[in-house]
Symmetry: D2
Subunit: 365 residues, 4 copies
């Protein structure tokens, strides 16, 4: 069962609410003897944390991770390593101003999970969205950092924004070096500059906007993924759609595959210069029959605009009275931006699980 756990062999379980004292996760199934300190995890949390630019939430969280178990260091070990025991990670919540939310305690905010949580559970921790807050994704990012260690350095997992609102990047200008030179994980510097202007307007209008994230995983071997209900792409779809505000997931050609012809969609094969099999295109996004082809695994996720806006919206109260609601807390005008490191983490977590699964069944006969 998977209420708050994800993965099979490499598996993590998250806990915590937006305005509780802390949040965290337990990472289970990490092999032993992998070097791991908090310094391996912190940079990824820093990428995701709020308050780093004017385009994201102004909540000030240091998001310092602590490792409470599962690692060991002594004269025998070469530095601090994993022991095979579960790794408990904790991040304290420091800047949670619960008073910001007292006004909306009894109102179901449109686009949020307030209504569904209330009806399903009969009780709701409304402070900052409680369990349904995207703050939970900090735990995913922390777990994802460990997944990266399991995958090793030959596999890279990089998420970029390719669209904010109606404005898309120009792929001919794609430059990996640009990605960390702007506030948007954008591989196209010129579009990033325009997004900055767009975002300023949106933020001032008290509105929000959606985004499109593209995740590219490189360096995969052929053969990860398992037909027919353990497909690599299906697990990725599950992982990505579990991210707050995600509304669509694509692999390779994605939704556009519907309009294609067979002779265009089927990626032809040939030998490369080294006499190794290679593909002449990647419309399948690096997966065939649910199994990795060795090409780049290409995933896209559509993130809806944040529902926390200052523009009044009609709603109901818990006692079924019509009401208007505006959300005045510190929110992300485009949750898709901070969604990029989260999507990267989820991709890493799926891959680490499939690496171990592939290993388990390899090399008989």
């Amino acid at each position: 069962m998977s209420h708050n756990s994800f993965g099979h062999l490499f598996r993590f379980t998250t806990w915590g609410e937006s305005h509780g004292s802390a949040l965290g996760c337990v990472v289970d199934g990490c092999p032993a003897n992998i070097h791991l300190t908090e310094a391996d995890i912190q940079p990824w949390l820093d990428k995701r944390k709020p308050g780093v630019s004017r385009h994201v939430s102004q909540r000030r969280e240091s998001d310092r991770v602590k490792i409470l178990s599962g690692v060991f260091k002594d004269g025998h070990t070469n530095g601090q390593v994993t022991t095979g025991a579960p790794i408990s990670l904790v991040v304290e919540n420091t800047d949670h101003r619960s008073k910001d939310y007292s006004d909306i305690r009894d109102k179901w905010r449109p686009g949020h999970a307030d209504y569904t949580y209330d009806i399903k559970y009969g009780v709701r921790d409304y402070r900052g969205g409680g369990r349904s807050s995207a703050r939970e994704t900090a735990a995913r990012v922390a777990a994802g950092a460990i997944a990266r260690k399991v995958l090793g350095e030959d596999i890279s997992i990089r998420a970029v924004l390719i669209q904010i609102g109606a404005r898309k990047i120009n792929r001919t200008r794609w430059n990996w070096n640009d990605v960390h030179a702007n506030d948007f994980f954008c591989p196209d510097a010129r579009t990033a500059a325009l997004w900055a202007e767009d975002m300023d307007k949106i933020r001032k209008a008290g509105s929000s906007v959606g985004a499109l994230i593209e995740i590219i995983c490189s360096g995969l071997p052929v053969g990860w993924g398992a037909p027919v209900y353990g497909k690599l792409d299906a697990d990725m779809a599950n992982a990505m759609m579990s991210i707050n505000a995600a509304k669509g997931v694509e692999i390779g050609a994605g939704m556009k595959a519907a309009a294609m012809r067979g002779e265009d969609a089927a990626d032809q094969m040939r030998l490369d210069a080294d006499g190794q099999p290679t593909f002449m295109s990647n419309h399948n996004g690096g997966v065939l029959g649910g199994i990795s082809t060795g090409q780049d695994l290409v995933i896209r996720v559509a993130i809806k605009p944040a529902s926390s806006i200052r523009i009044p919206r009609r709603t109901l109260t818990r006692t079924l009275e019509p009401a208007e609601v505006i959300t005045t807390g510190r929110h992300d005008p485009c949750v898709g931006i901070r969604g990029a490191p989260v999507a990267e983490a989820m991709a890493a977590l799926v891959l680490a699980d499939h690496k171990l699964r592939a290993k388990a069944l390899s090399a008989y006969g």
Copy 2:
């Protein structure tokens, strides 16, 4: 673990290859005392089976389902009912002409799973695609028929085609009655007629084409689905992406959510004529925070064009020699058509599982 099983409380496991003697599934977790005979399952298999129009594969399979376990009937029971024991379903393969495939035994067909299976497993049942064939989906449809019985008649699950190739339906002409009056599960009769013409051309050209399926689940209660890794929409994404040839999944506004503004995307609430909560739009597709809102659950799946075409494509052999391949067997020029009943089945299977999961946790305090 989920190699060939799907679901948690309501769970099924499929087995069988395209050209084996039979295929089937075991449905586990079906509650007792539900009326069930083969007549409850057969109509859904008939919807999916090949050979029913010129637009689908001409393979002639009767696709008769047999129930081998899990049901009982005697003087005490009101007809034949489930007993709570696992239900074993079998469909025999009758028209499998393995000789059709002898030519491609050693060639990796582009767009198929030949290459990835070969590298992953070192052995491949190439006859008709073996385990990677869409023939496996017959078992899903059979299991899905039982899921519908678990859901009951108040919940309807209907899949339609809304696009074949570049041609989309006109939603203003949507008529549910049209859906079964054409060969395409199309709710727009006029578009269906054009599709027939399109398909004739494609088939004659030896090509194939993609499609877009929309699945609409109506009659859901509020409260199915479980944050944060048991989200109803994430489970649907997983289910849909596990279907052969699926390349994209959308919930509600889907990929277009990226271009929206917060004030447009957040579905406002009001009271309906009966004083009950209702929504003023459904951009979230019937799910908020991973939990059903009681609105229609709206899912779209993009199906790529079939890779089995008569147009020559470049590829490699198992011994790494360049080759050309054409596929001359009896294939679907648009696998998306027969994908509609499969998508319906997968939706039913996810919902039946979540119905039981919601029940398990309901009504404390």
Copy 3:
């Protein structure tokens, strides 16, 4: 969830009732390229099948297994091998005389699951015990045969009877060659002869008797099993207690460990003649901290006497009227005998799963 499935990476799902048309299982997670034909499975079913001596049920079942999927053979493969796809196994029921059971349709047989099934499910396939019949164990034995192939020939799994009723074997006479030279899988020929006399009396009296099975798994490496909820011994306890009529499970010293002192119970270590670590005793039964030590894994299972006897017992009917019941069908006077191959199979199934699990997490750093 585990209603009718067992295992994680190597996993099987059984289906079928005692008097249905067939029973079987789906084995999922079997690695590819393992030689497998029906001839690999049949001998193990033959060991378990009824009607082979006067001491077991006289039901005449040929118990022929058929493989319906998951194997392949052509010019490339060296004989018929597994493909990594799920393996569907079916055994037809041929000699099921349902009329034998008509008398007990409405009576809850003491010691059987009639009452609990009736109350839990509200419906019960009473023919031969339906799903609760030990006939289900044929599927386990078939799956177990595949597990043995996964384990390879270096690992032996042998179950013997060490007690029937009050009479125990004399361990000083233990001779592995005797085990298949009598009707009781007994390693002590002299005790086996006495059991034959005992059993004749019991059978004539219309009674039944319990037994004690000992399972010895040899050739294990150090390191299988996973703390703390995937312990090898805990998984074995689960597996053994899932066998019909099992009432107790022991590992190593078992229940007698309660009376031991620490200096006696802790197995001391030394170097063997080859300079390799070895143990000076095996009170822990080959497991420490849930992980295999490389010693023999020693398990014992207590099987209660069959509840189907010809001696009248008091009970109730479904309409809550007092009644007397005797069972006149063809039954085992000591179900423990045929339980031995079942216990072997369950041990093999647990080990195969743990072999793959250990492999998945091995060799980092």
Copy 4:
């Protein structure tokens, strides 16, 4: 997969080492709206904690539990209640004197998991046994307290010691009131007094001794448990055998069932004074066919003597040199004593899971 998680619908995951900064667990699948504060959990931890009598480890741990997530309290709720979100529990380690263990860093202590951990993982947190320490059971007890809340007050789960070393209680003197009036959870005051003398001798001798725990669960409905691999007794066997030092598990008649005759073992039924079905004995220990009968569920667990003793034992070092080892830390001369609250907790955790599982499948037709 279940490395460090247990349960399906009601599920917990533990983490932490004996001498880490803290240990804890995440409880997932707890229904909403159950009253829960730390005061509901602490008493059970206090029952298990060390240092409460001279017969248990003198380690001084306050074992204060903190709830970090999953509960909420405001004007709407009637006190603090669960929200349906995962409940994170933490217990800090305060009195861990790692220096006590420096001597045995390189020696494999007989009867402990040192050798198997070292070979399996290649690294071992030797401080106090690390992850293999029984200190992990504090997390089980904390989780078990929540399980009790899920079960409600009509179900009682009580574990007692019925044997320490060779000395058994006299069942004719069984008095539930005695259980908490001695240091041994013993229902027979006179035997408890003798045990105190026995234990003083054992402790002074630097030795240890085994014990037999009996767990009695009362107030269960008919119908919990699920054939055939979700049997209540098989899940209990798994749960009990997962407890550190457990070597045997019995249900009802247990190992003695081997010596019984069918007419004695099968629990006959009759109507009770209220005209309700009742049983005339309980040799099956409250389970038939894996499903609860409504009788007391009776389980026994054999706990081996602690391996940490002051009597020198032969062993090897990590570099394969013969050595002698004694363990001088603060240890339990009879780990079975503190095992009783742990066994209670595990029984509660299994039952809570099965309560939810039974609910999920109930009441169709």
